[in-house]
């Protein structure tokens, strides 16, 4: 049931997010020059606490995965940068209006798809990490028809998710609620057979199971004797230590380039 809740939660989430994005009318928002200028400011003054992709750090919160209900408007972010947050590590700044808006434009862009933002790292080296045995991503994930089918398809991961969210789902996969729609499952059927795979869409009446070979089974719960679900994600939780910082950065660069709509002339694969 949680899986379904997540699916339906995504819709208001996107709706809210979309409304937030469209609320802003300042000309710097979405302006590539403003975003580029904001990038420099951010990397110099903000990335130390908030992380280079805005994903948060020890002293600064995540700027990408913000509250779903009543998120800050661009104007409110402008004021936070200008005045700081009293009682926290966030200091006031003396940036000009234009500089502050450039910074807001960059922070705004961070919430957009990773493929639309500049990403550090070497995508070609990241490709080798992705397809190599150490990371083993392709055992479960597919990109453009290659790879496993039990975990979510990543052909459009860069075209649909912010970089910080992709990073978080690799190093802290338990935080990424996508797994609730992809629970590792063992199904014992009343006729004595057993199926193992990932439960994709479960209700009290039906279950969709993708087995280890990528085959889809449409099951009636009335045919199920017992269903065992893994409570946590089937994604390995050790990528933060299994991969070096460089490997992780390059892997992110490769994933950020996975987009079903790559910009014309922007080779990514």
């Amino acid at each position: 049931m949680r899986a379904i809740a997540v699916v339906f939660l995504t819709v208001p989430l996107l709706a809210q997010h979309g409304r937030y994005l469209s609320d802003s009318h300042h000309p710097s928002i979405g302006n590539p020059e403003a975003i580029a200028a904001g990038t420099k400011l951010f990397m110099g003054s903000c990335a130390g606490c908030h992380g280079p992709d805005g994903g948060g750090g020890a002293r600064g919160p995540n700027l990408v995965r913000r509250s779903l209900w009543h998120p800050l408007s661009d104007e409110a972010i402008f004021q936070v940068i200008r005045k700081g947050v009293p009682g926290t590590d966030m200091p006031p700044t003396k940036l000009t209006d234009d500089q502050t808006w450039n910074l807001v434009a960059f922070i705004h862009a961070l919430t957009g798809p990773a493929s639309t933002n500049p990403v550090p790292g070497d995508a070609a080296a990241g490709k080798a990490v992705y397809w190599g045995a150490k990371a083993g991503c392709a055992n479960c994930h597919a990109i453009r028809g290659q790879g496993g089918k039990t975990a979510p398809d990543l052909s459009n991961v860069g075209g649909s998710r912010p970089l910080a969210v992709i990073r978080e789902s690799i190093v802290e996969p338990g935080k990424d609620l996508t797994y609730l729609g992809n629970e590792a499952a063992v199904v014992e059927l009343k006729d004595g057979r057993t199926l193992r795979g990932v439960a994709k869409n479960r209700s009290n009446y039906s279950l969709q199971l993708v087995d280890g070979t990528g085959r889809l089974h449409l099951l009636r719960m009335s045919d199920v004797k017992e269903l065992t679900l893994q409570e946590t994600t089937a994604m390995p939780v050790d990528y933060g230590t299994r991969l070096s910082r460089t490997e992780l950065r390059d892997l992110l660069a490769y994933l950020a380039a996975q987009d079903i709509r790559p910009a014309e002339g922007k080779g990514s694969k």
Partner: protein, 532 residues
Amino acid sequence: MRRTILAGVVICLGVVGQVRHEDVMKGAGENWLTYAGTYAGWRYSPLNQITAENAKNMVPKWVYHVPGARGLRSSPIVYQGVMYITNTNSVYAIDARSGRLVWQYADPRAQKGGVNRGAAIWGERVYFTTSDNYLVALDRQTGGLIFNKKFADVEKGTTSTSAPVIAKGKVIVGSAGGDSGMRGFIMALSAETGAELWKTYTVPAKGEKGAETWGDLIEWGGGAAWLSGTYDAELNTLYWTTGNPWPDYNGGVRQGDNLYTCSLLALDLDTGKMKWHFQFTPHDTHDWDAQSWPMLVDTEIRGQKRKVVLHANRNGYFYALDRVTGEFLRATPLIDKITWAKGVDDKGRPIQLPNIEPTATGNWICPSVKGATNWMGQSYNPGTGLLYVLTLEQCGMYFRSSQEPQPMKNFSGGGATEEGGQVVLRALDPKTGNRVWEYPMTGAGRMWTGTVSTAGGVIFSGDDDGHMVGLDARSGKNLWYFNTGELLTASPITYAVDGKQYVAVASATAVFAFGLFEPASGVEPPVVRMKK
């Protein structure tokens, strides 16, 4: 746990196998593998669990509300218990037994919106086209992208709306946008890679044969191919229809027949070479696209057995052609009131009446711009030997604009109205073209739904008021109806899962599935264990 999944012994009772040429050749059954159910375009199923006797016991089985849908045009594909339906730049895989979503694929960044008429299935993949002309291949079990390949430029006025048809590993796609100026084409792309195999333009280039039937605007002549067509495997021939010449209502700037618009084209599947063409409406000025299904039926015409292609046209006539040679065999009125022609000559060319052109102040002509019929799926039932066609008795005012034609500016050289009128479902005898029965409907002439017919002797269709209806295939008698609560804009299909027959249709915003009533049996709460 991950390793357990990979290493685990799997007992397969799930969705296995792949769609091969011979599977599609077999036609509909449990599965419904191509837009019209069969390559011949019949929209006919041998399923016979639902009959004229028990259709009164039909009830809705499930509803799937397609997110954000407005006026769905998609005819579902069903394979091994999974239904595939499209909306604008998106595909939904639905458990055909329960109506639960299996996966969805969406491309919200496509450069164009617009309608989509459905998906195709081949091998292990589901195919559809985006409005900005990408052929997209998806893993049918997970919805994962295999490839997306651009086959035409939206910047040249072309968009894509039709369901692909796949034959012998070739994905046949068409082109839409003919009301704003573009050059129509039909293309074959590789099902394996999406690579272009051939491209046949529906309007000749300057200097080519047929160019003499145009003026200076030939490069924007239209002839869109916005509806998929049919295929005769024995003749290895595709039958594809083409749309209006551009600008739609101002024929003065394009003197001549305007080949090959408002036509039926017979193309070789392997090369795309045009074997023959037949133009229903030469020099059309009423936007009477020929987009209505070319139905491939072997029947007797004047006592002689022939391979025929039947075609109910928007211009008001119902045609029979020899599908081997393209020879005109017969045309009969499809509707009661035709005011632009007094008939069709022995070569099939309409005998036009005077003063039929659109004018600055408006000219009242029957049929209306929507036509005597349109792209609604027709069906042919070999059991009754009848063809079932949605027809529209409607007239309209046609206006002409003398403005300089500007391509890709939403300019069509004039305009037209649709006023009043009535939708009538008609059963036609292919041998004679005569009407056998008819089912008049109430409504405003706005529906787009077609028909499906079955070996159970039932025709399913939608009426012009948003009801699904079941009619006796022999008599047209109403057997069953259900109010979907909104306009029906796509054609129904039938399929079976676990030995139970379903009838499904996309309404404006949802997919409905119907079947025979069965008493509910309560479901025990499943035993679910959570493992750390």
